[in-house]
Symmetry: C2
Subunit: 450 residues, 2 copies
């Protein structure tokens, strides 16, 4: 029978991460402090372990993956590469569609790939506790699990409205031993100030970041961990693309186009960077980051220095941004609501090496349902953005009557997003276009960098 | 590195199901009609396709799996066999613990293994619609997906209290195109009568069965599908044990003990029957069915003819039973609340070929949490029963300082059971012992068969 998936044994878990920095067309722009000068490594070590800080700036192309991290990854990696034969048949396309199923991880997405690496390096540095923030709970779940595997206590500041509305993600974190605190909390100065100003606030991801960083900066046994945007996070995710490349090789295939959903950039870095390595060496592979039209960072943002958080407390990052206080409408793909993007993803897009498309909410759910009904797996709404673009590419191949090999990341399953599917099936969702005037206003508030 | 899992390629999906009937120590007891005589095949064909009826009674040892069914299974099979190295280390046991991860199916459990086969045979018989019942939603989800894959409409009568309390399982069925009706409904005579008697009833699985069967019996384009108990369902599940046996062979191992959770018996049939084949041929493998102390069918039930449903509308089945109107306490492992058991599983237990143990609720959640914190995967509460028994065997091996190879089915993940984990972690669950006097009374109401 024709195979539906290509599997790799545990021994084929990559032995190195691929660091794209030495292969970039120019040096990446440094993170800047409030004084407009690059942040020195020592400053980052207040909240990150030395090895993570080193990776953030490293020009070493292949970074060895420590054996304990590979052992942790082996709990779910290598992930399967599927050929979406049923979807191809439903679309009557001559294209081959492959997807890399990152939803098989215990936390249900690609996020644990970096969480286990970060937990390991923190433990090696003698750290006993990690803090982080979480919105919908994907990253908080992943770090709770990783902390448990490496013997670290994990405290997760969870945006209060999510804490109240998504109790099952909270239960998941607690099952893995994580401590979940609704943010804002009384535990930090940032939290207390927010509560004093607005006692019934919903909280925000930016505020939860402030609380987690404040706690980590103030305790010598505690560090902070971030699940996207930063270079080391994208580095850790490159196991995805490396495995996919090897699996396609086994299938005797190579992609014409590689597609990943794009929020902060961890998926794009993970799936696309290993293929970018090929592209820089001369292959014609096309790389596509998919974002929502309601939060169109790469397609409509400015390429400028901006803060990573709403409150402007983080260093400034050179990136495509909608403005740090841009508030996207409440779309269901929470992981894609970020106003900015990884500085590496932004640089590559700016240099014309990485394409970007924006898709509307309803077509992504339509794609998610078609995918579920043909391939079985219900995609997370974030992942459904990549499914949508893969389907569009396959339909185009049909219209042009051209063979084409399409590869995308199915970054996670939708088991904790059924309320969103429910609303879609009930006809209660709309396309949530962004407000052009709001975008113009938030772009006008970008920080001035001399 | 030491492998954490053993994978098989799609081509190793078994080509036959293993039918244990010809290998039983005696012929299985027939299903009996209201007149006390065996149900003729023609009567079963009112609601089942001919091939399923044939399989129910077949003495053919190896039943070929049709290629379209293998193709459907390939969406998630072969499932991985994991060596639980982290759990072994946490228990400091000399035992090797392997588990077969059935939670990787799109519906999250082993149930789709039979759903796709049943959908296929119904389509081949010219059937256009299927009806079924569901409690927590595992079987209804599986059949909705299978119907979608084979072009059949699926109507699921969902116990009303679950319909109201578990909206996400309902959304999942609808995402796969299933139509979900809260039961009791106005669509059937059984439903209308129940509503007339008790307008605000919670509904029951027995009543939902009655509605689904009534509709299927009354429409020539519609059949009924059941997710456990019957011989053909257990037959379809034997892909589990066959794959596991092959995977252990690759690992150079053979189990001393094989463990499966037991509700209606589909898991036990699926995992244990292929090993029973070996046992009958002389190996010393021990087979263990695990049930909750609150619904102790095999360990405290009578071996007698009884109805399959609460209302006494189904044929009578020779089985271990607590009495068809035994009401177990509201334990969270809904899949294990059935009062009876497959006639094949019951026969094998009665003949001493299959052991049974009952475990309490709190130790199963304790085991589920330990499993999640070591292996990552959060088990369904049903599956946690098998985890508990595997841990007990591993601890015994440590105490006896004996090598032992333990194999169990992780029948499903717990993503839709986080409310139960939440209550466990909050200390709100107890052991839900069954009421001995209730058991005595329900056993006294067993039907009289001459």
């Amino acid at each position: 029978m024709e195979p539906h998936k290509i599997l790799l044994p545990d021994t084929d878990i990559p032995e190195h991460w691929y660091n794209i920095i030495p292969d970039l067309p120019r040096a990446p722009d440094p993170y800047l402090g409030p004084d407009g000068h690059p942040i020195p490594p020592a400053a980052m070590e207040a909240i990150f372990p030395p090895e993570i800080v080193r990776q953030e700036m490293s020009d070493q192309r292949w970074v060895p993956i420590p054996e304990p991290v590979r052992q942790a990854l082996a709990l779910w990696r290598p992930t399967p590469l599927f050929r979406a034969r049923n979807l191809e048949a439903a679309l009557e396309t001559p294209a081959k569609i492959y997807f890399k199923h990152e939803g098989v991880s215990p936390a249900g997405s690609h996020k644990p790939n970096s969480a286990v690496a970060q937990a390991y390096y923190n433990r090696e540095a003698g750290i006993r506790r990690l803090t982080t923030e979480t919105g919908a709970g994907q990253w908080g779940s992943s770090l709770s699990l990783a902390g448990q595997l490496f013997g670290l206590a994990v405290r997760v500041y969870m945006v209060r409205v999510s804490y109240q509305q998504k109790p099952f993600r909270r239960s998941m974190m607690e099952t893995w031993g994580g401590e979940v605190i609704p943010s804002p909390s009384e535990l930090t100065a940032a939290g207390r100030q927010a509560l004093a100003e607005t006692p019934d606030t919903d909280g925000s991801l930016g505020l939860a970041i402030s609380e987690a960083v404040e706690e980590a900066a103030g305790r010598s046994d505690t560090n902070y961990a971030l699940g996207s945007v930063l270079n080391h996070v994208l580095l850790h995710q490159t196991v995805i693309g490396q495995e996919a490349r090897r699996q396609l090789e086994i299938a005797g295939d190579y992609p014409d186009v590689v597609i990943a959903p794009c929020g902060g950039g961890s998926n794009v870095g993970g799936m696309c960077f290993p293929f970018l390595n090929d592209k820089l060496a001369g292959t014609s592979v096309r790389l596509v980051a998919v974002e929502p039209t309601s939060c169109p960072t790469l397609t409509r943002g400015a390429y400028a220095y901006d803060y990573g958080d709403v409150a402007g407390l983080t260093p400034m990052i050179k990136m495509y941004t909608l403005g740090h206080d841009f508030m996207p409408p409440g779309i269901h793909a929470g992981g894609l609501r970020y106003h900015g993007d990884s500085t590496l993803v932004s640089l590559l897009h700016h240099e014309g090496l990485l394409d970007a498309v924006a898709v509307e909410q309803l077509p992504t759910f339509e794609a998610g349902v078609l995918f579920a009904r043909t391939q079985g797996i219900i995609p997370a709404p974030e992942s459904a953005h990549a499914v949508r673009t893969a389907i569009d590419e396959a339909v185009l191949a049909r219209e042009e009557d051209k063979q084409r090999t399409i590869l995308f990341t199915l970054s996670g399953h939708g088991h904790f997003d059924m309320a969103a599917y429910d609303r879609y099936l009930a006809g209660e969702l709309d396309n949530d276009y962004h407000d052009g005037s709001q975008l113009k206003a938030s772009l006008a508030r970008l920080p001035q960098v001399t």
